[in-house]
C-alpha cells in the first residue's frame, strides 16, 4: 500500500484554511465567523499532523493538542461574548458591533 504523499494533505489544509479566511472576511453572522475560525484552526491541525507523520516526529502532534485546548477555551469565551452581544443588540450581524473605534 502506497502512502498518500504529504503534498495532498498540505493542499487540503491550504484549501480549508483559504475557505476559513474567505468566510471569516465575508460572512456577517458572528456564529459563522466563529465557525470559520474553527475551520482555520483545524486546517492548521491537519498540516501539523501531516508533517508529524511525514517526519515521524511527535512535536507536531503535541502542537495539535495545544491548538485543540486553546480552540476549546476560545470557543467557550467567544460564545459567552456572543451571548452577551445578542442580549444587548438582539442581532448577530457583525457590522452592527462597531462602537469600539476612534
Amino acid at each position: 500500500m502506497t502512502a498518500v504523499p504529504i503534498s495532498y494533505y498540505l493542499v487540503l489544509s491550504a484549501v480549508l484554511f483559504g475557505l476559513g479566511v474567505v468566510a471569516f472576511v465575508f460572512k456577517r453572522n458572528i456564529i459563522t465567523i466563529f465557525m470559520a475560525i474553527e475551520l482555520m484552526l483545524n486546517a492548521v491541525n491537519l498540516a501539523f499532523v501531516a508533517f508529524a507523520r511525514a517526519h515521524n516526529q511527535l512535536d507536531g502532534l503535541v502542537f495539535v493538542f495545544f491548538v485543540i485546548v486553546v480552540a476549546a477555551a476560545e470557543a467557550a469565551v467567544g460564545l459567552a461574548i456572543v451571548i452577551t452581544i445578542v442580549q444587548n443588540r438582539e442581532s448577530l450581524n457583525i457590522e452592527r458591533i462597531n462602537l469600539l473605534k476612534f
Binding site: 472576511v25 457583525i94 457590522e95 458591533i97 462597531n98 462602537l99 469600539l100 473605534k101 476612534f102
Partner: protein, 650 residues
Amino acid sequence: MLLLDHLWIILALPLAGAAINGLFGKNWPKSAVNSVAIGSVSLAFLAVAELVREFSLLGADQIPWVKSYFTWITAGAFRVDFALRVDQLTIVMLLTVSFVGMLIHIYSTGYMEHEGGYYRFFSYLNLFMFFMLTLVMAANIVVMFVGWEGVGLCSYLLIGFWFLKKTAADAGKKAFIVTRLGDFGFTVGILLLFWTFGTVDFGEIFAKASQHPVGTGILTSICLLLFTGAIGKSAQLPLYVWLPDAMEGPTPVSALIHAATMVTAGVYMVARMNPLFSRAPIAMLAVAIVGAATAFYSATIGLVQTDIKKVLAYSTVSQLGYMFLGCGVGAYAAGIFHLMTHAFFKGLLFLAAGSVIHAIGGEQDMQKMGGLRKKIPVTYWTMLIATLAITGLPPFAGFFSKDEILYSAFAGPYANTILYGVGLAAALLTSFYMFRLIFLTFFGEARYDEHKVHAHESPKNMLVPLVILAILSTVGGWLAAPKLLGGEDYFHNFLGPVFAAADKLAPAVEMNEAAAHTLELELSGLAVVIALIGFFLAWWFYIRSPKTPDKLAESLRGPYTVLLHKYYVDEIYLALIVRPLLWISTNVLWHGADEGVIDGAVNGTGRVAREAGGQLRELQSGNARSYATWVVIGAVGVTALLLGLWRVVR
C-alpha cells in the same frame, strides 16, 4: 609671615561679609548690617596693612611672592591654578583699594541711611571689594579675568540698585553690555596669549616674553586685544558712553566703582602687562593716543554739563585718559601714581558731591544750587581741596602725578609732543570745568528754594571719610615731591622692579640730569600756569560777570549745542548700532530665524505627527471585518516576505 602664607584671608573677609549680609541681613537692624559690612572691609584693610609690613621684610629675590592654592582648571596643556601674586604693584593697588573702599563703606552708612534695601547695598559693596581684590592679587590672567568680570557684575547690580527707576535699570544694562564689547576683545586676547606662550601665569608669560622679539605682529595683536578690554572697563573712546549713565547709581557707588577703583582696572591691567606692551610699540602708541584723545574729548563735554555727577563722570573719563597716556608713553609708574592720587581726589569729589546732594534734598542740577559755601563748610573745604588736587595745583596730589605723566609725554623715552599738547589742553579744560563746578555749587546766590530746602551739613560718618580723603589728596603726592626738588622719586623707585623689564627696553633719553630737572621744573610751571588760567576763566565767567556764559552760549550756539548733547554720540550709536541691531534681531533673527526656522521645525514635526495620526486613525473603524481583512493582508504579506527571503537565502 601669617598673611604672606595666607593671602586668601584678604579675599575671604569681604566675601564673608557679602555672604552674611546677603543671606541674613534682610531682617537685621541697620547697626548689625553696618558692623558686618564695615567690620569685614576694615579687617581686610588691617590684613593688607599687616601684609605690607611682612612684604617689606621680604628679600628682593622673593618678590614677586606667588601662592598657589589649588589647580582650578586642567584641560590638556591648559592649566589654571587659583594663585595669588604679591609684588610692589599689587601692594600699591591693595592699599588704595582697601583703604578707599573702607572709607566709602563708612560714608555709605550715612548716605544710604534712609534708603530701602540697605543690607542688599552693603552685600553688593562687599562683593565688589572681594572681586576687586581678586583682580588685583591674581597671579594669572584667568583669575584676573574672574575679578574683572566680577567687578563688572557688581557695577551692574549697583548702578541698577534703584531698579524700579527705569533709567537706572537701563543704565545698568548699558554698562554691562558696553563693557562686554571690550571684554570680547579681552577674552580673545587671553586665548591668543595662551596660544602664543602656552601658559596663563604672569610670571611664566613675562619670562617667555623676554625671549620674544620686539614688535612682532602676534604681540601687537595680543596687546591691542587686551587694551580693548581696558577701553571697555576704563571707559575710553569709543566705549566710554556707559560711565556717564552709570551715575544713576547711588553716589558712594559712583565714588568707589566708577571713580576710584573698578574703572582703573584697565590701567592696572596695562601696567601689569608692561613686559608685553613694552615689546609692542604700536600697541603702546595706540594706548597713548586713545588716552590723550579721551582726556581731551571728555573734558570738552564736561565744560557744559549741569548735572554735578555728570561733570565728575566726564572728568573721571578724562583722568583715566591721562593714566593711559602715562602708560602709553612708557611711564607706567606715573600712570599708577595718577591712579592712586585720582582714587583719593576723585573719590573725595564724588563723596563731597554726594554730601552736597544729600544737603539739599537730592538735587543734582548745579543750576539749582549756589551759595552753599557757608551752609556746608566741611563739604566745601574738602571739595575745594579735591578740586585743587585734580586741577594740578601744588602742593596737592594731582600736581605731582599729572606733572609726571605730562613730563614723560614731553621728554620720556616714547615722547610725543602732540600728545603732550593734547594733554596740556585737557588740563586747561579740567581746571575750567572743576572751578566752574565749585563756583556754581558753592558761590553766588542760592538758586534753590530756601523756604522748602534747608541745606544742612551731613552726619559725622559722612564727613570723616571726606576729611581723611582730603588729607590724602593733599599729601598723597608728596612721595614724588623730592624728585621735583632734585632728589629721589620714592614711588617710582618702589615700583621699579615691576617695570624693570619695560624700562630696560625703553630707548635711552639723551639728556643730562641737570637739564632734565630744569625741564621738569619748567614743564610743571607751565602746567600750573595753565591750571591758573582755567581757574581765572571760570572765575571770570561765573563770579565776575555771570552773564558771560549765557552770552557765549548764544554766540557760539552750534558748538555749545553739540557739547551739551555730548557730540550726539549716544544718538549716533543708537542710529548706527543699536537700531540696526534691533532691526536685524527683530526681523531676521526673531521673525525669520526663530519663528521661521526653529519654531517652524518644531511645529512642523508636531503637525506631521498630528496629520499622520489623523489619517491613520481612520483605520480603527470599529468594523471587525475590516480588521480581519487587514490581518489577512498582513499575514499574506509576511508569508510572501518569508518565502521571498527563503528564496534569497537559498
